[in-house]
Symmetry: D2
Subunit: 339 residues, 4 copies
């Protein structure tokens, strides 16, 4: 941490701040500039959060952190990229890409089987489908719940593909663990720290979706919650942030891919369906994500989007999805990745 004093801070104020820094267990490094005194607080910066309270002390102008506040998620401490086993021979984080696809919500056996079949023969690797659905409106379809899990696992058996589904609260972790290969924590729960701790206590892979207003640093701190409980199988998913632009449902932050790949060793995938909110932009944004270095994609596919119980406007039809998979293969090859 750097603690910058105000111009004209008194000697008494300066002495008190030094005393406080030392009281918190840090060594003080003084630096006298032309106009003001600047202190460095030397010691492990992570956990130094308390030093920010010095801003409340008279004479202090601001407190500036130098190090990033995460450890386990950091590539600085773990330079080697993590490869995560998703089950049934599927993995993410190597040069081979992971494509997860499926409907927003599991709606019926016919629906989930149709989609699973299309995925399988187009070369996608993993099936998604919500059984418990977080919906903005209490009056909207809230998911098939346990019945949805059963349908997912039937598709898993039938087509031999691992499945991922969202966990919305601690109470349903246990049953979801029985049926799913990977737990998804949704964007709205990315700072639900109790939930993060609990999924951190399981031994299944956890996919974290970036929140609508989550900074990259906060996103990595959420990963740190899971990692610090002992579960090292965390996948990060960029899915669009909230900005002033309304032409797309969210603004898909593709630059988060290279930033995350630089800062963390964890795999990074992209969801162009939620990221744009419109099926017609999914294809170009899927290509962009792979070109930018993403380790995979999560794409919404529905047999009849116009009748979907949720997220219809952003879902591809199976034949559209097949076409996108062809394009992904070409982009992957251009950046030395395989599908």
């Amino acid at each position: 941490m750097i603690i910058s004093m105000k111009r004209g801070a008194t000697q008494e104020q300066i002495d008190r701040v030094k005393e406080l820094i030392e009281g918190f267990g840090y060594r003080v490094h003084e630096s006298k500039g032309e106009e003001r005194m600047v202190f460095g607080a030397v010691g492990d910066e992570r956990g130094k959060e308390r030093l920010t309270c010095l801003e409340a002390q008279p004479g202090v102008e601001k407190v500036i952190p130098i190090l990033s506040p995460y450890k386990l998620a950091s590539r600085e401490t773990n330079p080697r990229s993590t490869v995560i086993d998703m089950g049934l021979g599927v993995s993410v984080g190597s040069t081979r890409l992971l494509v997860i696809a499926g409907p927003c919500a599991v709606e019926s056996q016919e629906q989930i089987m149709t989609v699973a079949s299309a995925l399988k023969d187009s070369g996608a690797h993993m099936l998604r489908g919500g059984a418990f659905k977080p919906r903005t409106s209490p009056y909207a379809f809230q998911g098939l719940k346990d019945d949805g899990l059963v349908l997912l696992s039937q598709a898993r058996e039938e087509y031999g593909i691992p499945v991922i589904t969202e966990v919305m609260d601690i109470a349903s972790i246990e049953i979801i663990l029985e049926y799913a290969d990977c737990l998804q924590v949704g964007a709205r729960n990315i700072q639900n720290f109790q939930l993060l701790k609990q999924v951190g206590k399981t031994n299944k892979p956890v996919l974290l979706k970036r929140g609508m207003s989550t900074t990259i640093e906060e996103f990595l701190m959420s990963a740190e919650y899971v990692l610090s409980e002992g579960n090292s199988n965390v996948i990060l998913c960029e899915r669009g942030i909230r900005t002033f632009e309304t032409a797309t449902r969210n603004t898909l932050d593709i630059s988060a891919v290279p930033v995350l790949k630089e800062k963390t060793h964890l795999p990074v995938i992209v969801d162009p369906s939620h990221g744009t909110g419109h099926a017609r932009y999914v294809e170009p944004m899927a290509y962009a994500a792979i070109a930018a270095g993403a380790d995979g994609l999560m794409i919404e596919v529905h047999p009849r989007p116009e009748e979907a119980l949720s997220d219809g406007p952003q879902s591809l039809r199976p034949h559209e999805f097949r076409k996108v998979m062809e394009g992904i293969k070409r982009i992957a090859a251009a950046v030395d990745r395989t599908l």
Copy 2:
């Protein structure tokens, strides 16, 4: 809903869209513009969410909602302002303002008693203090938990003031109900719909803090979750939204006050401490909130902010808080409110 067709949509596309609208149970009203066909879907707009899936249908340009999606929270259906009893003779929503104050986190008996005493003699009405703390970092202080609740209730007894504390997960609702007069749902949990449903099943007042990127409409939908479970005692709290500006920790959206007061009958209060992140801006922003029509304030007060375990930079010292209370009284009088 208004469904606008693309210029050049075919008759077949137009017919299919009409058919789908009717299939969802709505009456179709056609309107032929100079360049394109526009449909109105007549029927109750709330619950019409499924109509948005029509955007996936060939020939459709966009689907535009007309009505707001909330019912119980709406002033249109409930014109009279709701007054909520917070316990021990304190209420919110009338011409009398509510001032809630206290530390970010309960840290010790000495701390909470010092603050409670200062509140009481400065004319504030209710004590806040976190026992379970949502922290961005897993390595930061996570609250005294049950011990914090006990300390809060000791202050409650000693000074005869109701207390409010944050509920972070479903599991701790029960114990918090034993000790607190009002449950707070934090900004990070504002779309934790399972939690909202559960607090909706209690009979204590619930204070909802707007999320960092929650629109006013989404905020009211979160209130609707609580209301639709039968708990009609919901207080809304504006606490700053995330924008590009970094001079303040968040951007306190004071205009949310008149917008919310127009759209809902629920009480609206403002938290200038989280909203600005700096103690020196709390006073002017508290005044601004009251001048704009807020029904109350939530302000952080700590005996020694420079040693606080969280949120020190935004906490007032007790003597500073007393001064702010004097100013609030004057502003309140200028807008025909009392303290």
Copy 3:
């Protein structure tokens, strides 16, 4: 500036960075942390912008500025608040508030005279009205141009009130100086640096409107452009920033008022009409601005908003404006200001 090296930076990289810092004319202050080397570059920070290029140097992690980059606008160097004479006995920046009111655009003699008369008898001080209008669409009304200036000056004569109007380009500065008491630079031109330099060469007061995505620091740098050309009569106007929220046209950043009052000696006013975009929110936000410490207001008033050629939805009718003026007086008294 603080220059933080990467963990594991080589001695050669460290030496080269020191060399470069000294080459730019700064003294180097070394600080060895537990994990990395941190340099302070000692010397005048303003003008140090070039040091940011060190981020391009191998081994450098980041470059962090300590001082603010503005001098003339800074309250640190000029602690005393500036009071600006607006002409005809009107000023801004003292305990007396300034209220500027008028239509978005000058449309006709009848319109501008009706408004001027209403202002005069409600106690407002200055008349606004656009003659040259920046419009998003090339097909929208672009202002009466020179004829508008003439109408403004007729109102000025008739009612003895100073007038302010927007200057959109360098070519029209001269003619506007003939007719107006104060030049307004609009939000869309706040980083039109050529225009800022030119108005800095005049001797009339200049009102700068914050841009939709202008940070407070950038806003002060735009003021610095005007001040550095010799014109010290700069008034800052907060008028809303662009965020994700769409319930209001912009998000009026009331906290910018105390932040600006702390960082600069220049007067700060607020425009709640553009800030909210809806006439019904102007009253509460005008009160909030004054309560937060603003030195004045700019409010749109139009005799028939439903027929206005621009900005009708946010304009008050004269009788509504009179009512707001009564309320402003009460709030002003509550914060020891007068109208």
Copy 4:
């Protein structure tokens, strides 16, 4: 336009609104919903801006536009993609991509010649370099001005490549036209409508950079200003928008590429240098842009970024640029484009 009345609007209010719509020259189409009256105003929507003033009328809830407000820029009216001749055999908008590269600012003959040479032999097509520089600080380097133009044109002659440079004000248009093949309007001037009109009167291609908080619709309206003056050679450049995220200088909105390609026939290129602000993210984001369907790129290249007079941290060294060009070729091939 759709005009939605409030629930409970009186017959008198309804009649008055109909009267006003007709008075503005539109035909009224009534639609009675279950709860409220909705009007359609039939007639050419562009130019209908005045109808928004109806929001000021008692009983009106909101006014919702249906059509986009631009004509000449719209792909709806001009389905065929525009190809623009940039001079010296270079063009943009066909399947062949355009790569513009060069330093932020022209600094010296040695600098610009070194860069031009590197561009030429790496297969880039056009040289950029600022002679007039918009800088946030009045104390920063403001460009070599006319001397910079001369240096640019020397590089043009020497290497046979067209050049582009920024025009900051109307006064310098004439001299820039003498030396440059394409005029660039910078992000800060994207709503400087006077400047847009003037460049619209020239016959050289105009490259418009999206502003930091410009919506896609506003961006197209700025293009409309140029087009409506008779200059049909407009290129749009996405260069990052301002969001809450600070890991990158701006958030490069790659999804703007498919959105713009859908809505307009004009060529769309991307600037990953300004878009990210860090040289190390330029390569992946350049690839993402091409994968998403951009017609070209603008990339900053400088022989010694650590000594650049502006934008050093985001500039590639010539050998890094060569490597990026190799990668671009591969991505281009994967989406059936050539370099």
